[in-house]
Subunit: 97 residues, 2 copies
DNA sequence: TTGATAGGTAAGTCGTGACTTGCCTATGGT
DNA sequence: ACCATAGGCAAGTCACGACTTACCTATCAA
């Protein structure tokens, strides 16, 4: 659902996760955890990140593929390309005022 | 602050308000209240809308100008033009900002 | 000045979302 | 087989955000 994208983007930790996936696609849960700790100083539990990934996935911003005991997460920017243009009046005027 | 834009967009009522301002700029608080009731069936108190407008304004999505006892609200799409392109890899695709 | 209109301030309720702790399942290496 | 790794499930805590009720301020018209 497109409306879930806004809710998914509302949390700063989830935005960091998207930042991580932009930088390197196909990371596992543990990789994302490690990167958030080392690069952003975020001391979150594995389950917290897992729940964030579930939110991102249900919003369509992340797609996951399972391989053995690994689950790789890939970014899907498709929903993003629609949300911000919702209020941009590209036909009539140039976003002025 | 740019990070507040995401939080401002997280609430569906605030998105409706932005929809209203896209359709007709420069509405007062009471006009927005009336429109949300009649067009969207949203039965919210005036204060609720007022608080939503305050959030939108602090996020830079709405600017207000006072004229006598009226306060007109205008949409400002400038913050929107940046947020969604954050995760769009502009090097591979064009995705104009 | 009085009263109606437009808006602001403040406190309080209530649900939801973020996070944790604890335990369980599954895959792979040795 | 074992055990460590990768991940899932569920309940519980806690804070914040959305909304309400109640009251106060300001502007304009008669």
């Amino acid at each position: 659902m497109a409306e879930d994208v806004f809710k998914a983007l509302a949390d700063p930790t989830r935005r960091r996760i998207l930042d991580e996936l932009v930088e390197r696609d196909g990371q596992t849960l543990f990789e994302i955890c490690a990167r958030l700790v080392t690069k952003h100083g975020l001391g979150l539990s594995r389950q917290a990140i897992s729940q964030h990934l579930a939110v991102l996935e249900s919003a369509g911003l992340v797609v996951s593929r399972r391989q053995g005991r690994y689950k790789f997460h890939d970014l899907n920017t498709e929903p993003l390309e629609r949300i911000a243009t919702r209020w941009l009046r590209t036909d009539t005027s140039e976003s002025a005022q």
